[in-house]
């Protein structure tokens, strides 16, 4: 079959990104031709400012070199302007007469600078600031002339002005509005910005409009600029940075519907179904985006449709602004000006040069504007994008993430304060400097790209926030934030939430059904989605959906914990941390007989036998003759207890008995992640119940229940849920909470993550206030756990494939040819 022909007009970031995404999905579908008006391969346009400022070179900002086009079989026409699209014949024509036919056409023509309609605007020395040519011209002019005027005190204008000043020019910025960056900053922040730029030597003329640009004495180039009111200043260079407009001339001439951009639907398709548009030239739901993050989201969606998968939609983007001027920290996003129905929290220290404003509406952060200290900007942006209810953290919201107890690896929470040599990713040993280098040199934009290239944040994930901060600091505005809806993995478009919902509402009971129903891209998933699907199925439809051991991580398949040398560790269960001399004797015998190299007491009050060969596991279990400790699973681990009132002189409750009862009740309980409980017999809390998923503390009049604690990557103190009187109530309330977590959390979320997502109020409502809901949850838990098999004893019912414990015997005879 003849390949279809895809033509891309516009060899810039949005267009080429779309091609890259398309090649990832299907590299054989199209014969691809790209037309670019510039003589360069695709480069990172947003890094022109650092190039102008002399902080980076042009070579460093190339994103796709010529080899890339060649090795992907793309026909590239540089320096060619497409002047005509014939939609009937389906051809495009360049200014020098090349005609190319297409089956699908992608328009990524970008935007045009807005050139002020004043006399003299076409004099030599009057330029815009859009591409490499402009940048080179500015660099060149700076070596020969003195006075520069930048028209426009927005993001682009200020970056141009800063660059020219660093190259030794005397720069004046002309701005029509009464403060700088009025579309991104309020006046207080803008004034601070202005003074800090004035310290760098820039001059400003605000509320000023240009009347004419005048030639020099020789009449061969610009010489001065005159404003309304008569003021005239010398100008050897005038940079127009007064805004951009979508470049739609070609599309309009082809009769495509345009209205402040080429109008596209949610699949980035124009009014002609064969023609797509992405990037600054496109108008999506009334917005033409000029930042790179939204463009990349559009590219992904567009590629999905070009690849004829056709299941992806673009819903618009939340954007933020950061100025790329070294030494100036500024951030703004959302409704930073406030407005009706909004409340503002501000912190202003004009002398210290710090200003922060947070705009809140209906208990949600809807905008922020910060100057001087932007270290928490990533966090605010995330709160806003996720529309998180902030009522509970409102008091300390202004003081940043570090003040609400969310401290990252090694106590670092602010990347700005870290040195290049400081480690960001502790699992893989990746320093801040290495991440910055990779982002700069390899042109990375997203967290996923950083993960892929550097391995940072690809293991335990606790440094994700730090890596996002690095991205934001390096890329500024162009940081492509992780989309709010995260798909479960590369196999599917769907989020955990959508998958759980589909399994429940459509009564899906097998992975094949889920994959068919939700249009999975892979035949049998991957190591990320399979364990999640398996858990969702068996937890939603217990005793109905079949457990699939092959979709479980090896630990839950071999029922022991794999070690780095491929041996396993075995931890028998000791309910409530209690054991007997007979058990200890058996453990000692097994340790000697199987030459166990290490015997260790665990943090969960039991004994770990480390270094057991896989083939020995069944025999070890048999000789131990103790229940599986499930120390290897996303499951109930232990219930830690203190001695309690049986022996302790301070004890007020029987914590050991309570612990044993709970651990027996929860035996065999699989969950989104591991689950740990603790029971203390008095408020001295020797069992450390404050850092457990469910912590129970005995008081004289009953028991206090705490939930969502965690002693792991980030230490989290459990929150008080309620106080109950009887032992049966402890089981019912704890069980109901754990069942709620089992039914609603995303796979691999601990209770602390689940709690953070749904909020304590919701949990209290479901568990404490609504008796019926609590009893129903508790019943469902008990139903699920009824007759839970012991995987160390009941291989058949627990689905343990015992073939895995036997190496293949060599069959001696029979050398077949």
């Amino acid at each position: 079959m003849r390949k279809q022909k895809l033509v891309l007009i516009g060899n810039g970031m949005a267009g080429v990104r779309t091609i890259e995404e398309l090649l990832k999905l299907d590299s054989d579908l199209y014969d691809i031709t790209i037309f670019g008006a510039e003589p360069h391969p695709n480069y990172n346009r947003i890094l022109l400012s650092p190039v102008l400022a002399g902080e980076q070179t042009l070579e460093q900002i190339v994103l796709n070199d010529l080899d890339w086009y060649q090795s992907n079989g793309i026909h590239l026409h540089l320096n060619k302007k497409v002047v005509k699209i014939d939609r009937k014949e389906r051809t495009v024509t360049t200014d020098d007469g090349i005609v190319e036919s297409y089956d699908k056409l992608l328009l990524a023509t970008g935007s045009m600078p807005f050139i002020l309609p004043v006399p003299g605007n076409n004099l030599p020395g009057v330029i815009a600031y859009r591409d490499i040519k402009d940048t080179n011209e500015m660099i060149d002019v700076a070596t020969r002339y003195k006075n520069a005027v930048v028209i426009g005190g927005g993001l682009l204008g200020l970056e141009a002005a800063n660059g020219l000043a660093l190259r030794g020019m005397s720069v004046t910025v002309i701005h029509l509005a009464s403060w700088l960056m009025e579309r991104q900053l309020d006046q207080v922040a803008a004034d601070l910005l202005q003074s800090s730029l004035e310290e760098k030597g820039l001059r400003f003329l605000l509320s000023t409009s240009t009347e004419a640009i005048l030639p020099n004495a020789a009449g061969d180039r610009v010489g001065s600029i005159r404003f309304k009111g008569g003021l005239e200043i010398p100008a050897d260079l005038v940079v127009m940075a007064a805004g951009i407009k979508p470049n739609t001339a070609l599309a309009e001439s082809a009769g495509l519907y345009c209205n402040r951009g080429i109008v596209v639907n949610d699949t980035m398709q124009t009014f002609d179904p064969r023609v797509y548009a992405v990037g600054e030239c496109a108008n999506h739901r009334g917005i033409a985006y000029g930042l790179v993050a939204p463009l990349f989201e559009q590219a992904k969606v567009c590629a999905n449709h070009l690849a004829e998968i056709g299941i992806s939609v673009y819903n618009g983007s939340v954007t933020s602004t950061k100025l790329k001027v070294t030494g100036v920290d500024l951030f703004s996003t959302g409704k930073f000006m406030g407005g009706e129905g909004t409340e503002e929290i501000t912190l202003a220290d004009p002398i210290g040069g710090v200003y922060k404003k947070l705009v809140i509406q209906d208990d949600r952060l809807v905008g922020a504007c910060m100057f001087g200290d932007t270290s928490d900007s990533t966090w605010y942006f995330k709160l806003m994008r996720d529309a998180k209810n902030i009522s509970e953290i409102r008091d300390s919201l202004m003081f940043g993430e570090s003040n609400i107890g969310d401290v990252g690896h090694q106590g670092h929470n602010k990347i700005a304060g870290m040195n290049d040599a400081d480690e960001v990713c502790g699992c893989n040993g990746i320093s801040k400097g290495a991440i910055v280098k990779a982002i700069r040199e390899q042109g990375l934009f997203t967290l996923d790209e950083v993960k892929k290239c550097t391995k940072a944040s690809s293991s335990c994930g606790s440094c994700t926030g730090l890596v996002e901060q690095v991205l934001m600091n390096v890329l500024g505005t162009d940081y492509s934030a992780t989309p709010r809806k995260k798909s479960i993995c590369g196999c599917s478009e769907h989020s955990h939430e959508e998958i759980r919902e589909a399994i429940r509402s459509k009564h899906l009971i097998s992975q094949d059904q889920v994959r068919a129903e939700l249009a999975w891209r892979t035949p049998n998933g991957c190591a990320t989605c399979r364990p999640a699907l398996n858990y969702y199925l068996i937890s939603t439809w217990p005793h109905e959906a079949q457990d699939d051991p092959q979709s479980r991580f090896i630990n839950e398949r071999a029922h022991a914990n794999i070690q780095k040398d491929g041996t396993y560790s075995v931890i028998p269960r000791m309910f409530g941390g209690l054991t007997t001399p007979a058990e200890l004797r058996r453990i000692a015998d097994v340790a000697e007989k199987y030459k166990v190299p290490t015997v260790k007491v665990t943090g969960g009050q039991r004994i770990d036998l480390l270094g057991i060969k896989k083939d020995d596991l069944p025999a070890v279990w048999k000789e131990l003759d103790m229940p599986s400790g499930h120390a290897y699973g996303k499951s109930i681990r232990t219930v830690k207890t203190c001695v309690g009132d049986e022996h302790c002189r301070f004890g007020t409750q029987s914590s050991m008995k309570m612990g044993v009862d709970l651990e027996r009740m929860l035996f065999g309980m699989y969950a989104p992640h591991k689950v740990k409980l603790a029971v203390s017999g008095c408020p001295r809390n020797c069992a450390e119940a404050g850092i457990k998923d469910v912590g129970i503390i005995g008081v004289d009049s009953g028991w206090e229940l705490y939930i969502g604690g965690n002693g792991g990557i980030k230490t989290e103190v459990a929150e008080f849920l309620c106080k109950v009187k009887t032992d049966e109530e402890v089981r019912e309330y704890s069980g109901a909470f754990l069942q709620l977590y089992r039914e609603e959390a995303w796979y691999l979320d601990r209770t602390v993550h689940y709690l953070a997502r749904v909020g304590m109020e919701y949990i209290k409502q479901k568990i404490v206030e609504d008796t019926q809901s609590r009893k129903a949850l508790y019943e469902r838990l008990l139903f699920d756990l009824k007759d839970a098999p012991d995987p160390w004893k009941d291989f058949e019912r627990a689905g343990v494939d015992i073939r895995q414990f036997k190496s293949i015997p060599i069959i001696e005879e029979n050398h077949a040819k």
Partner: protein, 116 residues
């Protein structure tokens, strides 16, 4: 590998059905442990049971498509070549294999200790 497949001395290892679907069995051969995989399409693959990253037992990983994910640090290995998928680099040795009448055969020469 010998150039002429006809001259290979094939050694019968085990019936395909003795390998769990989307799972693996391990042969302790002279050359080292060989993981013999069976995927959902009943295709069979044999590669050295040592991940090119840190030697993890690939036989214990989750099998999907024509790949396995190493249980230690989640590298994805292409079962047909033994090589790591992007972005990781490195290969575990892949072994010649044939399936005849429901039995898996490996090349006797290959599974013996490597020549010095």
């Amino acid at each position: 590998m010998p150039n002429n497949v006809d001259s290979v001395l094939w050694k019968k290892i085990l019936p395909v059905e003795d390998i769990p679907v989307m799972g693996a069995r391990v042969l302790q051969a002279e050359v080292g442990p060989i993981a013999i995989f069976r995927n959902a399409q009943d295709e069979v693959f044999a590669i050295l049971d040592e991940c090119p990253h840190k030697g993890g037992p690939l036989s214990q990983g989750i099998v999907h498509g024509k790949s396995v994910t190493c249980p230690l640090h989640a590298w994805n290995i292409d079962l047909s070549t033994g090589c790591a998928l992007e972005p990781d680099v490195g290969c575990a040795k892949a072994f010649m294999l044939k399936v005849d009448a429901g039995n898996v055969y490996l090349n006797l020469e290959e599974i013996k200790a490597p020549h010095a």
